[in-house]
Amino acid sequence: MTERRPLAHSTRPVAAILLLGLVLTALGTWAAARADSNTEQRLLETQTRQAASVLSTAVAAIQQPLTAALQVQTQLPPEQGANAFEQLFTDFVGPEATFASASLWRRENRGFGQVETVGAEPELDPDSPELEALLDRALGATTTVVTSVESDDRLTIAYAKADPDTGFVVYAERPIPQDRRAPVDSDSAYSGLHYAIYLGPGTDTAQMTTTDVAPADLPLEGRTSQTSVPFGDTVLTVVTSPRGHLGSSLSQRLPWILLASGLILSGAVALVARQLVRSRQQAVSATETISGLYEQVDAVYAEQGTTFLRLQRALLPRVAPDIPGMEVATEYVAAAQNADIGGDWYSAIGLEEDTFGFVVGDVSGHGVDAVAEMARARFTLRAYLLDGATPEAALEKCSQQFDITKDDHLVTALVGVGNWRTGDITVANAGHPPPLLVGDAGAEFVDIPVGPPLGTGPTTYRSQSFVLPVGSALVAYTDGLIERRGEPIDDGMRRLAEGLSVAEAGQLDAMIAEILAKMHSTERADDVAVLALRRLPSVTKSFDANARAPRAARSYVGELLSAHDVGEDVSQDVVLAVSELVTNAVNSGATQVEVDLAWSAGRLDLSVWDDGGGWPTRLDATDDSTGGRGLAIVDHLSESWDVTPLPEGKRVSARWSLPDAEPAQPSRP
């Protein structure tokens, strides 16, 4: 019924979400990394500037003695100059001091004369042209002249500062350690940095003066910062690179945190999205499935309802059987609160010529099972009745077909057999409410011995016989009619009997409708079946209009009259009258004759209808006439008679008074 959709439909949005997550993660990571990098660069540059300023101070400190020495020479007499120079530089020169060698020179006519030397002899040969050129340069410059001197694989920085007014030049040499490495104190400006300081604007390793790394590792790689510090007439170039991360560790870790958490988040979101998409698809699919199921259920219920209805109609004949002399009316009403079909039923069948059977039963519960049980009970009882069983015998035999311990339903039934000619009715009861006898005097329940419901084990039933008076009706029903929630069943029975009187002929349906209306309850939880049998005050029978019709009509009327015990004299007169009237009808060219016999207390009406032409007239037959005496005879026999023209044919009616016409009363136990 449902198809699982291809996963591609679900992965597409998930992939999009994942991709978006990854892109956002990458962007975030990149931005964080870039911010961190910028911060690092800024920090590096800041620290480098700080280091450069520290270097500037150091450089100034280095030049300070040179400047001081020149000033001293201008203020002292020449003979004291050398001595002062010596005193001034003693503290600055030595193996551990700032300078290894310091010397005072004075310009002479040709070249320079060495006035005083403190410490070691200069590395640069005092007689060399390099030194003379250097001193010359110092005289021409306004600042300290700095240069490097390479000798014996050592680098020495040479400083020369001159006073052009006096012609004095101070020359000092500062050796660079062999490895040119200088440790970095943790609290110095260089802490956290690798650095390399070069003399001059270049970064040639040969001009490198100080570093904290192995000279072989130079130049510094990675993130570097470069700045220059003025150093005499040249500069010191400082190149730095961070030893580690300069900024906060969070700033450093942030990109990775972002990357990791972004990836995790993206993955999680993608998973959740996938789950959601799947859930939604499943929900949609489930909804479709459920909708489909509901539709199917609806269809099944509708089908079931239709089936029930058809079953109901099949099992409860809408057309009452044609029992002569009896008017039969039936009704089945489904429960007000339960659409399901119930197990109530009624049944009326013609048996032999004079007899008929009827059943009203109730299978407890609703639905197919109840209906199946109902059908079983109904047709079982019907079969026994057709087989000639008495009501009590039919119940006994049927009861053996049921087992209340195995069947889930309780079956009660009222079974009766009647003779429509005599009105004799015999009824047996298996746990069913008593039938109601409705006559001129009102309604009363017929007291019938009540046996157990069907299927309660071996049992015998007792029957009760009574006579159904002409015009009276017997109403059998199921308990749904009298049961009302919260009301004792006796009250329901009382309400049913109250104010009910026999209906007009042909109005038995109306009587049932009246009963149902009176007993109507919107809360009715059970279905109701009602069967009413009324002993007709009139009987109509049709005959083919031929020479045998008079005899057939006589036979029919004779039997009816003998059954109603109207007396021999009246019976003979009526039989003769019907013979005359039917003969007249046949002789008038009719094809159909209908004989209707109606009786009530003290009166009997005979009507003969035919579809023939002509108009019956009472002839004044002479003695030797061979016909025409029929109506004269009817006139003589009956109390009164008349002819009624009808749209089709005519009707001749004749009337008799009945002597001592007391309607028979039902015998009561």
Binding site: P550, Q572, L576, S579, T583, T626, G630, L637
Partner: protein, 117 residues
Amino acid sequence: MATFELDVTGDGDAVVRMSGEIDLAVVDEVLSAAREGLAHHDGLRLDLSRVTFIDSTGLGALVRVRNESAAEGKSLTLVDVPASLVRLLDITGLHDMFTVVGGVDADDDGDGANRRP
């Protein structure tokens, strides 16, 4: 159904014994049986003792038999007339047209066959 038997008495009259119900269905048979009886005899006796019913149509047939026998100068006698026919004869006033013998003559509380108006 009605049945008809033809017999002859010692004095030479024909006897037709009818039984059953005499009505429209059997009028032709009544007539043919009676005519057969009349054909070879001077008199006809209709034995009605076994007739269970007769209406005006059956009576009409008897009247025709009576007319035909009278026309031929032959005698017609109804024998053992049942009460229902006696009453019919009374009602129709045809009692005097038939010679009736036996039957319910002794019946004094009914419409006797020998009762004359």
